[in-house]
Every structure is written in C-alpha cells, then in structure tokens.
C-alpha cells in the first residue's frame, strides 16, 4: 500500500476538527471599539417606535480581534488555492493574479470613491471605465461595450434581454434560443430566465456544431444562437463563418460566451466571426482573483445594431470645447435601453484590476498570453496522449486543442474500475486541484484540463506524471483511488445526507 494509503493515521489538520466562529464565541468578548457618542443620547425608542425595533440583538459572535484573526487564518489553511499549487480547472482560466492589481484597486481614489459621486468629480474613474471599454472593444472586434453586468451569467442575461429588445423593436416576437450540447449550464439557465425556449444543437464528429442540425433547427422563430468558441471541448469551430451566416440569414442574433476568450486574444475576434454580442469574464481572461467564487465581472461588447438597447447608464466621452480636455460622463438618456441590470456602474474594483492587467501586458502581451495558453494546453495534451493516460484517459476529440482539452475517463472506469471522480479525488493527495470533471456532458467521464499560460513546463510535467502514477496505482489496486483522498483536511463528504436534511446555518 502507498505511503499515502488508507493506513495513514490522521494528519494534524484532520485532527483539528472544524470549529465555527460561533463556537468560539464567549459572552462579553469583543474586538471593535466604536467612536464615542458626541451627540445627545436619548433612548432609541424615543426616536423609533418600539414596535419597529428588535426585541433581542442578532446573535453574532463575541470574540476578540486576535481570535478572529486566528480563526480565519486556521480555516484558510483548509483551502487549496492557486497561489499554492496547480489549478487546471477547465473553463475557469485559473491564471496568476498579479498583486499590483490589488494594490492599485486599493488606492483611496478607487476604493473609497462613492458610486453616486457626481460624474464631474469622478473623472478618473469614468476615464478608466472608458479606456477599458475601448480596450475590450478592440479585443472583441465590436464597437460598443457596457461594463455593467456583474459576471458571465449576468452578461448572458443582458445579451438575451438585448436580443429580445432588438427583435421587439423590429416588431418581431421570437421564442427559441439555440445552444449546443457542449454549452455551459449557464446558457440554458439564462435562456429560461430571459423567457425563451432552449433548442439544443448536436455536435459533429469533430466536436463542433452539426451544421445539418443547425440548418434544420434555425427558422424565423430563432431569436439567438449562444455559442462558446473555442467551445467547452477547447476546440475552435472551423465552420464559424457558416454558422454565423445561417443564423443571421434567419434573422437571429449571435451571442458569444466569452468564457474561452483567453485562447484567442489578439488572434481572432468574435466580432469578426459574426457575433453580435459578447460577454467577457474579466475574472478569467483578465486575471481578477477568483475569490473562492466571486467577485468577477461580465462586461458585454456588441455590434451597431444592438447598441441602442445597451443597459443604462453608459459611460461616454465628450470632446472638449475650444480645444479643451475631453470629459467623461454617465449617459442615462437612452430611450431604447433595456434598463439597469444592477445598482450603480458595475464592479468597478474588478475593472481597475483588469485594466491594470491589460496595461501591464499590452496588446502584444495579451496575444502572447493566448499563445502560451494554447502552447501549454497542447504540450500537456501531447504529454498525456500516450502511455497510461493515452490508454485510460484518452482525449475525447483527437484534434489539436486551443487553451484546454477534454479527456474521457471511460476506459479507466471500464478497465480499471476507477471513475473520473476517483482520479480527481486522488489528485488531491498529490497536492493538485483536479480538472473540471463531468463536463461537458457529451463526453463520458469527462476531465476538462485548462493549464493557462502562467504555468511552467515543470508544473505541466508534474501533472502528467501525477495522472500517470494514479492510473498505474489503480491498475494494481483501484481501491486506493476509490477511497481517496487521504491527506486532505476532511475526506469524502456525504453530500447525499447534506441534501436530504439540509443544515444550512448554525443552531444557536
């Protein structure tokens, strides 16, 4: 049995059982000292009627500052993170987050700028937003940008509401949105939220859209086609021009899910491919730290025919008069706009970080980032194409990939008795984050690997070797992977029980 095998007794982290901050609470302890009241202090119920006031205070922890710090430091160590190790989570683009971006986002002029500050006194912020809009416009090949959506899913919703507004303005009512079977789950979920009906498109043997299926399902009831390109298999759809033509000829719009923009920055542009609306995940391609699942931002770029409907307010640049400096403003006067999708101007702090990232890399650097991302993915794919990985976890579509690739663990399951889940869990014992698993759905036992451009060849080699070791180990004793992980703060968790009887807050 391996040295990491099941006989291993508990690690120190495992012995340190989870304790919540509420369980560390001791009556009377505290951290904060608030400013003294420098104004008259009447009883609160003389200022607000008693029936509108709380009868008892909210139960919050009572805990000193050193103990808060210790608590969160301790539990932070129960997380695996990108700064610690390889994180090839497909579709999520876990690239390095330069700390400069954190520093500039924290400047008081950004961090303490109130969102309702008058535009004339927030010129730096508006100019930054305008510059970011122009940069995204150039990268996407589309003339107009709204930074408002808060995340990719929010950008998708914006895109379909724009589509709806566009058709409605032309006096048309269309009901169907096409999404390929490789689509992210957000796409069909967004379609429903936007009041449309999902029509699923089949993939062809090359992993792209089946053109016959597309032709058969595209008609005058087609509102939009939502597409990711390169798609979630990491493959560029070579027929994209034909796809765009089919949808446009039927009067539909083309929506580009920018989840995989990182593969093609500076090489190809969604606008040039014929897309009308694009969302960009700033937290993926433009390096906003993922934060354990947010924040991000999902700006959208669009063509001229969609522009009138963009969310309001829109950041605009006004030329100076008589040779004066240009100024920047928020334009609320957009009568055809779909309206607001959220409060204020969007996730400005994310804009600062992504703009800093763009300035650091420059146009040439962004292009090189894509090249290196694609190079790294192809190198890792090549490393895993033969030997045990090639046999038990072969690539799903035998083509050159873009920035990520999808393996199928079906042979490993069939021949070794270890599922993709087991391989993923065993990777945890190797100190690596597993790839995205069981997605896309059309690949049996899928493993979706996205190394990104910020990883070294040594790291890629180590990953290939870890997979090889896991498969070799499984050939001898599949139970090791089936019982993994062994070294993590907790081992496999009972998700079924958690669903059946949800405990979603502490009982106090």
């Amino acid at each position: 049995m391996s040295a990491l095998g099941p006989e291993l007794t508990e690690t120190p982290m495992q012995r340190d059982r989870a304790t919540t901050i509420y369980e560390r609470s001791v009556e009377g302890r505290r951290a904060a000292t608030l400013p003294a009241a420098d104004v008259p202090e009447p009883p609160i119920n003389e200022l607000i009627p008693k029936n509108l006031l709380r009868e008892r205070p909210a139960e919050l922890p009572e805990i000193s500052e050193p103990e808060i710090v210790r608590h969160y430091n301790r539990i932070s160590r129960r997380n695996f993170d990108l700064d610690t190790g390889f994180y090839p989570l497909g579709s999520c683009t876990m690239k390095h987050n330069p700390r400069l971006n954190e520093r500039v986002a924290a400047l008081p002029g950004h961090a303490r700028l109130h969102p309702a500050q008058e535009p004339k006194r927030a010129q730096g912020a508006l100019e930054l937003m305008w510059l970011l809009q122009r940069s995204l416009s150039e990268i996407c090949g589309l003339p107009h940008v709204s930074l408002q959506p808060s995340a990719g899913s929010h950008g998708e919703l914006a895109g379909l509401l724009l589509t709806r507004a566009y058709h409605a303005d032309r006096g048309e009512e269309r009901h169907k949105v096409l999404t390929p079977d490789t689509a992210h789950g957000t796409n069909p979920a967004t379609v429903t939220m936007a009041g449309y009906e999902v029509v699923k498109l089949a993939s062809n043997e090359r992993g792209g859209i089946d053109l016959d299926d597309l032709r058969a399902k595209t008609d005058d009831d087609t509102a939009c086609l939502m597409l990711t390109n390169p798609n979630t298999l990491g493959l560029f759809d070579e027929n994209i021009a034909e796809i765009a033509k089919i949808v446009h000829d039927a009067g539909g719009t083309l929506y580009y899910d920018g989840a995989n923009l990182n593969a093609i920055m500076g090489h190809s542009r969604p606008g040039d491919m014929g897309f009308d609306i694009v969302h960009v995940n700033l937290h993926k391609s433009f390096s906003q730290p993922h934060g354990g699942g947010g924040p991000g931002a999902g700006p959208i770029a669009c063509s001229d025919r969609i522009e009138p409907y963009l969310p309001r307010p829109q950041v605009v640049r006004r030329e100076g008069q008589n040779g004066g400096e240009p100024s920047f403003d928020l334009d609320h006067d957009r009568p055809k706009s779909i309206g607001r999708l959220r409060g204020f101007q969007g996730n400005f702090g994310v804009f600062v970080r992504s703009y800093a990232y763009m300035l650091s890399l420059g146009g040439d650097g962004l292009q090189e980032a894509s090249e290196t991302a694609v190079l790294n993915a192809n190198y890792l794919l090549a490393r895993m194409s033969d030997g045990r990985a090639g046999r038990y976890t072969p690539v799903a579509f035998d083509r050159r990939c873009m920035h990520e690739f999808v393996l199928s663990g079906a042979p490993a399951k069939r021949e070794l008795g270890v599922k993709t889940l087991d391989i993923a869990k065993r990777l945890l014992d190797h100190g690596m984050h597993p790839p995205t698993v069981y997605f896309p759905l059309l690949v049996d036992e899928a493993l979706m690997v996205e190394p990104t451009e910020t990883e070294t060849r040594e790291t890629l080699d180590a990953f290939a070797e870890a997979i090889d070791a896991i498969l070799g180990e499984a050939a001898e004793d599949p139970e090791i992977a089936q019982g993994a992980p062994y070294t993590t703060p907790v081992r496999r968790l009972d998700e079924v029980a958690a669903n059946r009887n949800p405990v979603v807050r502490q009982r106090l």
Partner: protein, 447 residues
C-alpha cells in the same frame, strides 16, 4: 515543447482558425508597461476622483462609507481566500465552505429568516432574483413595488421582467412612507410579490408588518430589501412576516469601490429553500465521521439542472461575503447594536441641525436610522457645487429619481461622520442655500 507537440511553430497551433477570421495584425492597444509605470498611470487616474478620504461625504443611497476594519484586508488578502475558485472539490475547500456556513448563519440572524444563501452579485439584482423566485412559487406575474424601494432595484425589476414576462406596479409614498391604502388597492389575486425596502430609499423606517398584511391576504409574497446595518436595531423582516429578505451587503465590510464589487444577500422562509438562487453551503460529515461542509441543494443550480435551474447565477461573491462576515465578527453582538444606536443618534442630531437651517426643510418626518431627506429652497446642483468647494459631499440629489422632489437631497451618516462634520455640513449648506435661495435652476443643468 513544440517538438513534444509535433509542430514547428506556435502559429500552427492556431490553424483551426480560418485564415479570413484571423486578426493578422497586432491589437491596437498600448505596449506592455513595467509595474512601476502601470502603478503611476492608475494612481494618476485615481487622483482625479473626489473620494471619501478627500472630502467629508454624506453620500449614501444604498452604499455607505463605513470604516472597514484592517483585519478585513488582512484576511481577505490571504492567498487561501483570494485565489481559489468555487468550492467544487469540498475536501480542499473547507475554509471557504465554512465561511459560507458562518455567513449564512449571520445573515439568517440579521434578517430573522431561517435560510440564507452564500450571497449574490449585489443588491438590486438580488431584488430582481427574488421576483423570479416569487413568480415561480406563485405562478403569478404581477409585481407590486413601493416607490420607497431603491430606484435601481425598481429599474432592475423592470429590466429582468422583460424576460420573466412580469409587470411592475408602483405604489406611491405618503409623508415619506409607503401609502398603505394605495398598496392594499394595488394588490390582487394576480400579485406574485410585494416589494418593500427597510429603511426605504428616503431613509424612513417602514412598518413592514402592517404593509405586508395586505399581501398575505392575497397570497402574494412579501419581499423586503434591507440595509443590513439598520437590522442591528430594527425588527428583522422575518419577524414582520416577510417571506424573503434581500439587500446590498456593501455596508458590511466592503469598500465603496465606486459601486462594486460587493455582495447581495438573499434569505428566505424554509419553504423556499429549493427555489433559492445561488450557492448554499450545508453541514455534513466525511467518511470517517469528521464534520465538514459542502455546496448543497445543487440540483437547483444551472450546472446540474441547466434550463430547469432556479437561476443562472454561479457567483457567490465569496470574498465579499467573507469581508462582511469578518466585519460582523469584529463588531460582534454588542458592537453591532452600538453601531446602530450611534447612527440613529447622530442622524437624529444631523436632522435636527439641518432642519434648523433657513431654506432647508425635512422632506418627511418619519423615523429614520442613518439616512434622511430634506428639501432645499435653492437649486440642489449648485448647492452641491458650493459644498464640494468646501470639501463636503453634501449628499445625493433626488431629482433624477424623484422628479417630485426636484430640490430634494438625501443624506447618509456612518460612524465616520462626527458631530463636528455634521456641524460643518450644516454651516456650509446654510451658506450655500442662503446665497442661492429662490434662484431658478439654470437651463441645461441637470438636477
């Protein structure tokens, strides 16, 4: 590496992109710059913003200049919280999952509702998400919102509603609070939900219980958008009959950041748990019996349920929610109440001080927590300019959102605004209004 792949150049790796669709030129963006120059450029942009360190700001309207304790930066800046993604692999994500669980507990306590998710994007879109739940739960499509609900929330309801197919009916305010009889008249058997805000946009504390009763009669859900800091002292919506409480989380541990990122919270009655949007962490055990946490009820979510999902959201604004949780722990059970009481008393003082100024009158006299509205007998835009020249951000002009209050001004307090600041504001406002009293708004000046 190219040899291992079996190609001669990186260009070959891009061969799947049809020739006609290749850009074939460099991006028209500036060249890359060294770190020091990028810092200088962004610093120069930042210096052109009148931020809350450069002036004494009374701006609120949904986001507030609270003091963010230093430990928030220290903890959220840790790589272990800053750089992972959504906890898809719970065995190596226990830190983040436990934070979600603690956060859900705290938000549930604040709102008095048993179930909280692990946060949404931000406030107004959380309001719109609550509408989606209500439509699904009731099968009805009419939404009724008080005019006291944040204008951005009401507008988001309309925007999202174009997709849901809902219609929004607005109920006016009377003396600063939601007009109860108008509300009752607006609700019928087609009403999915009634939207209220606590305190409302003009700062007034609403009687949620009384307002919600009309909705209950017709089987409509009561959805309350709340300022989480005000819930330190106000009766929680869950104890006032609300089915859902949502809101903007920024006042808890998050910077102003010119509007984001922050987080939205979403709490509900138990019966709605399987319709909730967003991530939810749940407690469970591992194979050896150790306590642990997982993302739970994932069959609600888009990555499992696709077009049948309860929402399309993937984001939990986890880092922002962590900031909120650390801030709440730092304030603690007693400090949180003390903060609320301090705000109420300083706001009462500010209200009294300002209402004594000639040409300034209260827009309403309803009870308030930390924000109140006044009417100026002078063009508000020019008054704001005068105050700004004295280093004071006097507040939020109401005219764009409430044309009926053309010269209305909304002012907010935080613990950072002292009595001295309030006195300075009153003096500056007095001088500005005194000088400009009775003047007409010049043409072309937005109010």
């Amino acid at each position: 590496m190219l040899d291992a792949i079996g190609v001669g150049s990186v260009d070959e790796l891009f061969e799947d992109i049809p020739e006609a669709l290749r850009l074939g030129r460099p991006l028209d963006l500036p060249e890359g710059k060294p770190e020091t120059e990028v810092y200088d450029l962004l610093s120069a942009l930042a210096s052109r913003n009148a931020h809350a360190e450069a002036e004494t700001s009374f701006l609120g309207a949904g986001m507030y200049d609270h003091y963010v304790p230093a430990i928030v930066d220290a903890i959220t800046g840790r790589s272990e919280f800053l750089t992972p993604y959504t906890p898809y692999q719970p065995e190596i994500s226990q830190g983040g999952l436990q934070v979600m669980f603690e956060f859900q507990t705290a938000m549930s306590e604040l709102t008095g509702l048993p179930v909280s998710n692990a946060a949404l994007y931000e406030g107004p879109s959380a309001v719109a998400s609550a509408a989606y739940l209500a439509i699904g739960a009731t099968g009805r499509r009419k939404l009724v919102a008080s005019r006291g609900v944040h204008p951005h929330s009401r507008e988001s309801l309309v925007t999202y509603g174009a997709g849901y197919g809902s219609e929004l009916v607005e109920v006016p305010l009377a003396d600063g609070i939601t007009d109860l009889s108008a509300l009752a008249d607006a609700i019928d058997d087609q009403t999915a939900a009634v939207f209220l805000q606590q305190p409302n946009f003009l700062g007034a504390v609403e009687d949620i219980e009384a307002l919600g009763a009309a909705a209950k009669e017709h089987g409509a859900l009561v959805i309350v958008a709340c300022d989480p800091v005000a819930l330190s002292i106000l009766k929680p919506p869950g104890e006032c009959g609300a089915d859902i409480a949502v809101g903007e989380g920024q006042p808890l541990g998050n910077r102003l950041d010119y509007g984001g990122p922050s987080f939205g919270f979403f709490c509900a009655a138990e019966e709605h748990i399987r319709r909730m949007p967003g991530r939810i962490a749940g407690e469970t055990t591992d194979v050896d019996g150790r306590r642990g946490f997982v993302l739970t009820l994932q069959t609600r979510e888009q990555h499992i349920r696709r077009e049948k999902a309860t929402h399309n959201i993937c984001t939990a604004q986890a880092l922002n929610a962590l900031a909120g949780m650390v801030h709440l722990a730092w304030l603690g059970k007693r400090g949180f109440v003390e903060l609320g009481e301090l705000l109420v008393r300083r706001t009462a003082y500010a209200r009294e001080r300002l209402s004594a100024v000639d040409g300034v009158e209260l827009l309403h006299e309803a009870p308030v927590v930390r924000e109140f509205a006044v009417n100026l007998d002078a063009p508000v835009a020019e008054v704001l300019d005068r105050c700004a020249a004295e280093g004071i951000g006097a507040g939020y002009p109401l005219g764009r959102d409430y044309p009926e209050h053309e010269n209305g001004l909304l002012l907010a307090l935080t613990e950072r605004r002292s009595r001295q600041d309030i006195d300075r504001l009153a003096d500056a406002l007095g001088r500005a209004v005194g000088d400009l009293r009775g003047e007409k708004v010049p043409e072309g000046v937005a109010t």
